[in-house]
């Protein structure tokens, strides 16, 4: 079995661009990815596209053909919707398609327009990743759901708002030189702790912002990369996906994420590595507590241990296991359907030495991307390795 290669990547600036349509943003990202790959666009055989709230934000369903058209491609195109894990799921199917030798060149990506509808409507749109009947109708919001998990975590394992603040401070610091990030702004733990509460115990700086943006990447088979002498030093060597009950109250755990555990087990096994091999990673930190749950679910920390990782300096860019060097969803921003591919792009650029934080991962060979949907009823994990060209 050959491992697909990342041939090219492209993205828009992440931030408030309410006037930008989803199609315009995806065109910018997709064309940049094609240009970066340096391939003949006619070689692209399919588009795997992630989007979550297009119907609500843009009154636009059936987005995938529109997005293929936006980048000038006449190919079969499919939209993936797994809430915030939409483009992680798109990557997974693209990888499987390439591995099965049913395609040699595909475009993966995602786009989300969110700020045009305002904070209240965006909060409503995000909430529908939960169970409408039994959660949303009880007033569950997306931050509220993670607040329920944070309190359960604190009560089971300990931890405090100060520990969460350290994660926010770290991810803000990581994003400082990232010109694509929504928030290039240093904060202190005091800023985070004193910020307005959204859903107790989570405050404004525990939460990712509402973001417009698009991402795209050209993935190719190993054979195609060799045949066309492409500059592709990053391989996707493992893929995994996990699922869980939709509603938090139907889960066995509120302070663990079995979908992440299952996705990680599958991805590690697929790549033939264990958690010890991971040098750095991008995880789904839609809220600070989500980074904690991710690191434990990925087997990088025992349950109850990751809450202090940022404060201890282990997951900072100078630590042994840098987490979210891009700034994560927290500071880079979270255009929902584009986020999974944004993680792929960050990892690729870090390996290739063209990310502003690349110096922090000089000797690295193995990275992970973890993308989660809802309260982690969906999760994808991908293993990336630097390979000989």
């Amino acid at each position: 079995m050959s491992d697909p290669r990342v041939a090219g990547v492209g993205l828009t600036h992440f931030g408030k661009h309410p006037e930008q349509t989803g199609r315009a943003m995806f065109a910018e990202a997709g064309l940049a990815a094609l240009d970066d790959a340096g391939i003949d666009p006619d070689d692209v055989e399919a588009l795997f596209y992630g989007n979550f709230m297009g119907e609500l934000a843009e009154h636009q369903g059936h987005q995938a053909p529109l997005m293929a058209e936006a980048v000038g491609l006449d190919v079969p195109a499919t939209r993936y919707e797994s809430a915030c894990a939409s483009s992680g799921a798109a990557i997974r199917d693209a990888v499987l398609r390439l591995r099965n030798e049913e395609a040699d060149v595909v475009l993966v990506g995602g786009s989300e327009r969110m700020t045009n509808i305002g904070t209240a409507a965006a909060t409503d749109a995000l909430s529908i990743a939960a169970d409408d009947l039994y959660e949303i109708r009880a007033g569950m919001t997306f931050p509220g759901a993670y607040a329920l998990m944070a309190r359960a975590y604190f009560e089971k394992y300990g931890g405090s708002k100060n520990d969460l603040a350290e994660i926010a401070v770290k991810n803000h610091e990581h994003a400082l030189p990232n010109e694509y990030a929504q928030m290039q702004q240093a904060i202190t733990t005091e800023d985070a702790i004193d910020a307005p509460i959204i859903a107790d115990p989570l405050g404004l700086y525990d939460s990712c912002p509402i973001t417009d943006g698009a991402t795209a990447a050209v993935l190719v088979s190993e054979a195609y990369a060799a045949e066309h002498d492409l500059d592709t030093g990053v391989a996707i060597t493992g893929t995994g996906q996990g699922g869980d009950k939709m509603a938090l109250h139907d889960r066995d755990y509120f302070a663990r994420t079995p979908a992440t555990e299952d996705a990680a087990d599958e991805a590690y096994d697929d790549a033939g590595i264990g958690p010890d091999a991971v040098d750095f990673l991008e995880v789904h930190d839609c809220f600070t507590i989500a980074e904690v749950l991710a690191l434990e679910g990925l087997g990088l920390y025992e349950p109850g241990e990751a809450i202090g990782a940022a404060g201890r300096g282990e997951t900072t860019r100078e630590g042994d296991l840098p987490v979210n060097l891009s700034g994560g969803l927290k500071s880079k921003g979270h255009p929902v359907g584009a986020t999974g591919v944004a993680q792929l792009i960050s990892i690729t650029k870090l390996f290739e030495g063209r990310h502003p934080r690349a110096n922090d991962v000089d000797d690295s060979t193995t990275a992970l991307a973890h993308n989660a949907g809802g309260t982690v009823a969906s999760a994808t994990v991908h293993v990336f390795e630097e390979v000989e060209q």
Partner: protein, 128 residues
């Protein structure tokens, strides 16, 4: 209350809770779930029946929501909680007590209330 069609199963449960006759779905292997169900979400069994919901449960976790969705604009701040009734857990709002006086492990009963913002039905918990 919404003028739209009923949601069978969900609205049946809310009617029953309002009448003091809350129930849950139990499969042949003793797994509990909330309606509507044609199969058990734990084991896939299609041998399902109704059982009476215990009158009280314990708060497993809760949050005070200060930034709501528009449907709850005038309700905020409010307390969303997951309550463990034994065979099933349920999400709802805790009423009748100040947020600062709420703790995990507190025993609550279940009822049906209305939202302030839109007069829509919702599951509520009241400390016993």
């Amino acid at each position: 209350m919404s003028d739209g069609p009923r949601d069978d199963g969900f609205d049946d449960l809310l009617d029953a809770i309002a009448d003091g006759e809350g129930f849950y779905i139990e499969c042949e292997n003793g797994h509990g779930s909330l309606p509507p169900r044609l199969s058990c979400p734990q084991c896939g069994s299609q041998e399902l029946g109704k059982q009476g919901l215990p009158e009280s449960g314990e708060i497993s976790t809760y949050t005070v929501v200060t930034v709501p969705t528009p449907q709850f604009d005038e309700d905020a701040p409010y307390v969303t909680a997951v309550v463990d009734f034994g065979p099933v857990s349920v999400t709802g709002q805790v009423r009748g007590r100040e947020p600062d006086d709420i703790e995990t492990g507190q025993v609550v009963g279940i009822d049906v209330g209305e939202t302030v913002t839109r007069d829509e039905r919702l599951i509520v918990f009241e400390p016993r």
